[in-house]
Symmetry: C2
Subunit: 587 residues, 2 copies
């Protein structure tokens, strides 16, 4: 059983039959045709040679097929991860150098190891750090950065830049040097791809293809664009006219060798590798869950960490780049009828064939065509309506997204995601720091207790009942002290305070310490502290502390019992405890 | 009113009378006598000239008297902050140099500005980052580091070190070079101070002093030790025997001048200054709250940020060092009868007199005596029972404390507190990532719904009700998706899922997104999602989202209504929504 959990292939492999094989093979052919141009394009985006994209779509798919839990996820190079790879590798080496390529391998290795470690140590919850507004804002901003970064290839210009203003500045400054033949190729490719997205499927339908088949065949748009562009280069001698081409792509197997084991390089790439691992994991799991739910299948997120970790390690030892589960290709895989991860393995075989036999043909592929496929692909990940939707729903979540987008566009991708994580945490702390609490009284003729501000309820000047609608943790322990002491300071006749704990699911050590301090301080002021409606697990834990020994008041099972007993005791108060100062503080 | 909130002196100053004056004056005399040796000692601990400690006990007290909200808090140099100052200043300059002194001023300036900014921007909740186990572990570990660091002065040795192993190593290595006359002075001072803590008060009582007076007079132990040590140095010519002395302390007013405005220095000191601000604020507020509660007074934490910020700025422009509210001195101030912050101003005047007239007499004070006062003072802040208490109450909180203590002792004070903050956050995320949830059913013959695992309740195979005992936020949004999909995957007959929201106090945008995804995925699988018992404020917010428009099921006011309606509908399911894939993901 344990082995089966680690190697899901042992489960689905046993029931593999001819029908499944045929479904998986069809899906693999469709995905391969879609993946070849995408792999080349995302390698270009990452600043790496085109073949790296192909290599990253072979071994990682096999590794995921062995260890992954999604039946239909297709892993490989994806746009946002390629951008993050370019940024991180660019921080330690110049694009085009061997050191840059080594850096990409080190990133795959490190993020693979981190994903594996998170899987083994059950640390998948760290992915929670990326709240939805942050990941959504980050992906939209990255899409915008990616699209902008490709414009220069469309115009046949050099230059670059890491931020939106830098890219736009370089683009505007160089616009005069636009290479018109390149622009022609780029715009034609772009126009064809945009049309293929909308018009290819209906056209194929009119030509007599079944709806599902035309849907799938329309996914071959980028492959058609690549073939057409190569043909145009050959036909019109665009090479001689200076249109930048992909150039010689070495044909052959992925180079199997150890990635760089340089501790200093690892140190410099650790943070970007962690961010690549987190972003890749969050998006991949979201895609895998969406697909699995449609067939009432399940994925196991902790095992997904293992699967994606293995994929990245496989990329690292086979000349690839960081990979994760891609949305578009997984949906195509699913729609084309893939039933098991074997479809991924067959896709890997397809890409391998492409690397062996198609590579020489790609030499004449214009870079501008790849740039156009990138632009068309990433424009769909920019969610322009999300900010407004978020603004309406929650200003705080909007703020987290706005910070992420602005920092990503204006400073860079790593600062962007880090700023988003920090903003989410700070906003969460802010919210947790002052939870909702109500002063309650008894609804006449009932045993119900309601907010005094919303209901006509019975209260007494010597008795205050506070209901806190939140677990008591270190995030709000200080607030609890301040809130209670403020309430007490305003009520000179007060003799009893009841903390109604019906919504308190946990009390951590900081909150316990605050309760002890509140108990002491109230006792100093001649007031007893009582608890009511403490939940079972919370009470079990409190019994292991000193709070109940030193509590100046009692613990009541129900708020009604507390109210009944204390309403009748308007003066009850013993002497304060002997020594309220324990040794503590900074002296 | 607004001005009065910013300047609490406008409130208490109006009611100031002769009786209050006399109380405050008595308290100021007692605190001054206690504070002179402490100020010198903590300057020594911070690696600064002795007079800096005096200067830091003059202007900051006046600033706090103007802006602070505690009636009895006594600010000035304190042990842990002095240690943090030494570490931070030591990272940019060598002790004894002018640059080192400048660094201490810059730290006071920066932490003052940060405290002010936090006060103005209402960011006091950031102090929540320091959970109780972390601050308690940090203070104990700092106390141990401080006591160990002073042993070398006791033995008359050089050397130093920033970590416990380094200090102990240097001490053991140098033990052969112990300077016996210094050790004699040090051990005598230590013995006297330890005795004074326990024996001076009863002795004064037997000599006829009233209990309260002997209590207060016993606080003069360190001052007596200082006087005795100076006398011994003069009497036995210890100077000539090589006992290290404080040396010439310039008499005069604190030097008023701008602190260094060097952006590069500020950059290097920003993180330590922030930690100094946070630790100082947390401890000061805790002391102030404890004291205020005893007299049913209130402090205003946001205004305390202003008060402490002003104190540190005052220290920065008057040749001081970072300051905060001290525990021991504030308790003495309180016990001696201080009624208003004027007592602090009078104390400042007392220290000023000391700086003007006593300074020349301090030249013969042995460093070993100051080291002894530091050791005796900090030993009481080491809480040896806290780890065991915490281990019993909560393993997670214990882990946060243990990490803080170990990193502080073995790596350093700044890494220690940062590791503690990170550990608390990670443990909190871990806990929040998987909140308590129960599958509930109806208790027969009632309208109550209880956990199926603990009660005999009515359920149906086509109807699943899940109660989540936590607000739904980005920290557990992913868990919610996984938990619900897992439950659904195990129940083939399922047609309705009800999410019972009685304990859900908030739904943030990430959780909303998860609910929308769950709704879509369940719809894909032919299952309707319903909500029940949604609280009013949560419902108001949901109405501003698209969830309710696309929800496949209904929103029921009560779980009972949901159960009644859905139990009778075992097959009810409409077609899945038209296009479950929106454009999203990494492509």
């Amino acid at each position: 059983m344990r082995l089966a959990a680690l190697l899901p292939i042992l489960d689905w492999g046993r029931r593999y039959d001819r029908q499944t094989l045929s479904s998986d093979l069809v899906a693999a052919v469709v995905v391969t045709i879609m993946l070849v141009p995408q792999s080349l394009a995302y390698a270009l985006l990452a600043g790496l040679p085109a073949e790296v994209g192909l290599y990253a779509s072979i071994a990682p798919l096999l590794a995921y097929a062995l260890f992954g839990t999604s039946r239909t996820l297709a892993v490989g190079p994806v746009a946002v991860i390629a951008l993050m790879t370019a940024t991180a590798a660019g921080s330690v080496a110049a694009p085009g150098t061997a050191a840059y390529r080594e850096a990409a391998l080190a990133l795959a290795l490190l993020s693979g190891l981190m994903l594996l470690a998170m899987g083994v140590l059950r640390l998948g919850f760290l992915a929670n750090l990326l709240s939805h507004p942050v990941i959504s804002g980050f992906i939209s901003a990255s899409g915008l950065l990616i699209a902008t970064s490709q414009l220069r290839h469309l115009f046949g210009l050099g230059g670059g830049g890491d931020t939106l203003p830098a890219m736009l500045g370089a683009l505007l400054a160089g616009l005069g040097a636009t290479h018109l033949p390149t622009l022609g190729v780029g715009l034609s490719s772009l126009a064809f791809l945009v049309w293929a997205r909308r018009g290819l499927k209906p056209l194929l339908g009119r030509l007599g293809l079944a709806p599902r088949a035309s849907e799938l065949a329309a996914r071959g748009g980028p492959a058609l664009a690549v073939v057409g562009a190569i043909a145009a280069v050959e036909a019109f001698g665009l090479d001689a006219r200076g249109v930048p081409l992909v150039g010689a792509v070495p044909a052959g197997l992925p180079p199997l060798r150890l990635p760089p084991l340089d501790p200093q390089l690892w140190g410099r790439l650790a943070v970007p590798a962690f961010l690549i691992a987190l972003v890749g994991f969050v998006e991949s799991v979201s895609v895998a869950q969406t697909l699995a739910a449609r067939r009432r299948q399940r994925i196991v997120p902790d095992q997904e960490l293992i699967g994606l970790g293995a994929s990245n390690l496989a990329a690292a030892v086979s000349g690839g780049m960081p990979v994760t589960g891609g949305f578009a290709r997984s949906v195509v895989n699913f729609d084309a009828g893939a039933e098991t991860p074997a479809a991924g393995a067959f896709t890997a075989a397809g890409i391998l064939l492409a690397a062996l036999f198609l590579a020489p043909l790609l030499a004449s592929l214009p870079v501008a065509t790849l740039a156009a496929t990138i632009i068309v692909a990433v424009l769909s990940i920019i969610d322009t309506r999300a900010p407004l939707r978020l603004w309406r729903y929650s200003r705080r979540d909007f703020a987290a997204m706005a910070i992420t987008i602005l920092v990503t566009l204006l400073v860079g991708v790593e600062p962007g995601i880090l700023a988003g994580v920090a903003a989410s945490l700070v906003l969460h702390l802010w919210r947790s720091a002052a939870p909702h609490a109500a002063i309650v009284g008894r609804v006449p003729g009932t045993e119900h207790f309601r907010n005094v501000e919303r209901h006509e309820v019975i209260t007494f000047p010597h008795l205050l009942t506070v209901r806190v609608d939140e677990s008591l943790t270190y995030l709000n322990a200080r607030w609890l002290e301040e809130f209670l002491l403020e309430q007490v300071a305003a009520r000179p006749a007060l003799r009893h305070v009841v903390l109604m704990c019906s919504a308190v699911n946990a009390i951590d050590a900081s909150a316990l310490e605050s309760l002890e301090a509140i108990n002491h301080r109230l006792a100093d002021a001649g007031i007893r502290l009582h608890l009511s409606e403490v939940k079972g697990p919370v009470m079990d834990r409190l019994k292991r502390s000193h709070l109940l020994d030193t509590l100046s008041g009692r613990v009541f099972l129900s708020q009604h019992a507390a109210f009944a007993a204390l309403a009748a005791d308007p003066d009850g108060m013993a002497a304060p405890p002997p020594d309220p100062w324990g040794p503590r503080g900074l002296i």
